[in-house]
């Protein structure tokens, strides 16, 4: 095996030093009756060209990866500068582990510190952690944190939060006393129904709202924090399209207590759903209730600035069952990718990419709206996603777009909302050209 440095001769020599005559004897402490007496039923070892050919073959059967696509719904196609993937492949980054030994991990610690700062700047919050697995688990952790802080169990959740995030929350809270109530959305605007905020009570731990919401609508977050705070609940904001931070008013400005987001958009490939990147930010006063790792500044005895993992007393390796979360390994390399992405795009780049998303989506929305038979059911403002209502079945139209025109036109909302048979969610990013959009519009027209 070429990954094992020692030759059979060297291994024999080492065995001899140990007074053993065969490798089998290394396993004497495993009782005979539970030893595997046959080879594993796994392929013969493959050579490098064979592995590549096999993987290429599997990849070639993912034809969706080559199609012109307008899929979003929590995972987005964006341009990523070449240097992002180049730099994260430096051995020193990707073959290191959690920076337990700061003297030999300053590279990792400094980028985590930069990442935390960038997340604070984007969200308008005071502290951010070193990352969570993804947006869905970050939201579940936010709810658990709000429950710890308020010592309350009820959650008031907008129905327009990503359906898979809600499913994850249900799993995370399955065996706690959590009670989840929902805020409906307005059929006209697609915005949350303000009337439903009357469900807020002295038992509510937190109010959770996603913006832009699952239907792409930018919520008006004004006043929501006040509503939540008036009953002693926390206000949690969820964002699945992190590019929107480049343009939209920050949740921090709206008084959010916890902001969680999916940041796959920041230079991370879609990769069939993972690895992606969860962001988690909050107020300084809640930092000791926060899940996950935190890097902070520390000085050596000469006064030189460095970085360490800090406030570890919140974490599982110290607090065990009383920890703020069970999370250990997070998504550090993805946080690195996002950091490089954000620093390369920089202040103006992030603004421009957000602007282009808005403009392209607005263009597509206008063109589709003009089509006879098609409509845009919700009047709320949108970022880069919006719902289209079709004559008849959305699934059928999407299927025809795919089979007849090789376009993946978006997501049939019936996947998550069986009653929404005529609606589909479309996403337009800076990677979609005018030509692609015009072609989509043309095909939709043909299919009517």
């Amino acid at each position: 095996m070429r990954y094992i440095p020692n030759s059979p001769e060297e291994r024999a020599e080492m065995l001899k030093v140990l007074g053993l005559s065969s490798s089998e004897e290394l396993f004497r402490s495993i009782p005979e009756d539970i030893r595997l007496k046959r080879p594993l039923k796994i392929t013969e070892p493959l050579s490098e060209p064979e592995v590549i050919a096999l993987m290429e073959n599997l990849a070639s059967r993912n034809s969706a990866s080559q199609r012109i696509s307008f899929l979003g719904a929590g995972v987005y196609s964006h341009y990523s500068p070449t240097i992002v993937d180049y730099l994260i492949q430096r051995s020193e980054f990707f073959t290191a582990y959690t920076p337990y030994q700061p003297e030999v991990s300053q590279g990792t610690l400094q980028y985590i510190f930069e990442f935390q700062t960038l997340v604070c700047q984007l969200t308008g919050m005071e502290v951010a952690n070193a990352s969570m697995y993804d947006g869905s688990t970050a939201m579940a952790e936010a709810v658990l944190m709000a429950q710890r802080i308020t010592r309350r169990q009820k959650v008031l959740l907008a129905k327009t939060v990503h359906p898979e995030y809600i499913e994850v929350l249900r799993t995370y809270t399955k065996y706690t006393d959590t009670e989840i109530d929902f805020i409906d959305f307005d059929e006209e605007t697609g915005l949350i129904k303000r009337d439903d905020l009357s469900q807020l009570s002295e038992q509510t731990a937190c109010l959770v709202v996603q913006s832009p919401n699952f239907f792409g609508i930018i919520e008006n977050l004004q006043g929501l924090a006040e509503e939540a705070h008036s009953v002693g609940a926390l206000f949690v904001v969820v964002v699945t399209e992190a590019i929107s931070f480049g343009l939209l008013k920050t949740p921090g400005e709206f008084g959010a207590d916890i902001v969680v987001a999916e940041a796959q958009s920041f230079g991370i490939p879609m990769s069939f759903g993972g690895p992606h990147l969860g962001l988690f930010a909050t107020r300084e006063k809640f930092v000791r209730q926060m899940p996950g790792r935190l890097a902070g500044i520390a000085y050596d005895k000469h006064g030189n600035r460095g970085f360490v993992l800090t406030l570890a007393t919140r974490e599982q390796h110290i607090r065990r069952e009383k920890a703020t979360s069970n999370i250990c390994t997070n998504q550090s390399l993805m946080a690195l990718a996002a950091t490089i992405y954000l620093e390369t795009m920089g202040r103006r780049g992030l603004q421009e990419v957000a602007f282009q998303n808005v403009q392209k989506a607005a263009y597509a929305k206008r063109k589709i709206k003009e089509l006879e038979g098609y409509s845009i059911p919700y009047s709320g403002y949108t970022f880069n996603e919006f719902v289209v209502r079709v004559p008849g079945s959305a699934e059928e139209i999407l299927e025809k777009l795919r089979s007849e025109y090789s376009i993946i036109g978006g997501l049939a909302l019936s996947r998550y909302f069986p009653e929404m048979k005529s609606d589909f969610l479309i996403c337009v990013t800076e990677t979609n050209t005018k030509e692609q959009i015009d072609n989509l519009v043309h095909c939709l027209k043909e299919l009517r």
Binding site: N6, A59, R90, A130, T137, K249, T344, R347, F355, E430
Partner: protein
Amino acid sequence: MSIKKVRQHPTQNEPLIFERSQKGRIGYRLPKLDVEETNLDSVIPEDFRRSDDLEGFPEVSEVDVVRHFTRMSTWNYSIDLGMYPLGSCTMKYNSRLNEKVARIPGFTNLHPLAPEEEAQGALELMYRLQQDLAEITGLPGVSLQPAAGAQGEMTGILLIRAFLDKRDGQASRNRRVMLIPDSAHGTNPASAQMAGFTVKTVKSTSEGLTDIEHLKQLCSEGGIAGLMLTNPNTVGIFEKNIKEICKIIHDVGGLVYMDGANMNALVGVARPGDMGVDVIHLNLHKTFSTPHGGGGPGSGPCCCSAELEPFLPVPRIVKEGDKFKLDFNRPNSIGRVKAFYGNFGMMIRALSYIYTHGAEGLKEATEAAVLNARYIAHHLANAFEKPFNSDCMHEVVLSHKKQARKGVHTIDIAKRLIDYGFHPMTIYFPLIVDGAMLIEPTESVGKQDLDAFIDAMKSIAKEAEENPQIVIDAPHTTRIGRLDEATAARKPVLRWKPDMETMTKTA
């Protein structure tokens, strides 16, 4: 200009990007907007937009970014640089082949909500990996959804909870005790808590094994939902009574979860399913060499018995004829633990690792990993206290007992090891050994490097006797000395702000 200190060298003195930022620098170019522009106010009114113009966000050129990260990277130790013997972390070689195949555009550009018929390759890849992991663990039900070990653990414990609730109905309420050995990883109790269990701690014997008598006693107290056991355990010793342990738990109606963090000692040699274990999680970033990435992404598949399979997270990947499908219709499922299907990119790498090794290579890697650890244990057993006599598997635990007499503690030994060119071992874990040093060389280290490591450790032991201060003051060769972590935790500074002190603090 004379360079007095290494730190003054620009590559050693890279500031934060915010300190490097210069107004007007640009590091990107996008294609020109090709659609006719709409008045922004009519699309998103000003009240909904940021008012800070992203003030304070970095403005740097592409070259700045490349130098910034390249310089910082050189301050890290990494597997590609040398031996990284972090116990319980399995810091083995991460092959470039795995990186290459994970970057095939047919994988990276695939949207998780793409039509199933156009994502057959990805689904087949997952299906194949599930099958191989089932074969390796001897447990037929596999979910690849958990994002990391701790989440795999949580999934496993939720399966146990769901199973008990289904089997016992209301009576399950009286079964809320999860037994966890005192040597366990901290994620175990934290995960058990998330499934609504109360933790009771099982003691270890002086041999470093689970105390069977104590286990029986705790079981007799009733209410047992299950046991979370690491095997080989966290002191690197195989729990030889595992079958009996499983039987004790099963006899009182509980289930056994095995923490698979140490699976690198077992692949191809013994299977948890054959030991009586009901459910296990694996760490693809440990045993199956997906990169640790400075702390993730991980991937923590959960493998379980046929009995527990109906409770696995949705969706399941199933094969119907020669088509692969996502099956959402699992009424007993615990639900989703993560959006979509898991860290797919890590699955590609793990499968590439498995195929590159084949059955024989996997076993060979296990043998080499155990041999390397045993070789270290053999050579260091005199210089350092070895708290347990039993033969170790893939990692060995030592303690600072001998050195502590001279005022040299585990932390000092770890820091001094850096001066000898090695990443330190895991320190102060497991908690049951005072001043623990947990050393896991993995199979990816050759004899010369093992010998160099052994020499370094012996040399440190000698220094501790003859010149303890040099060890206590270590490291001496890094760009930064030991950092004041206590002050950092007392007055946490967790983000950059414009008025921040720069590289050094004037005392």
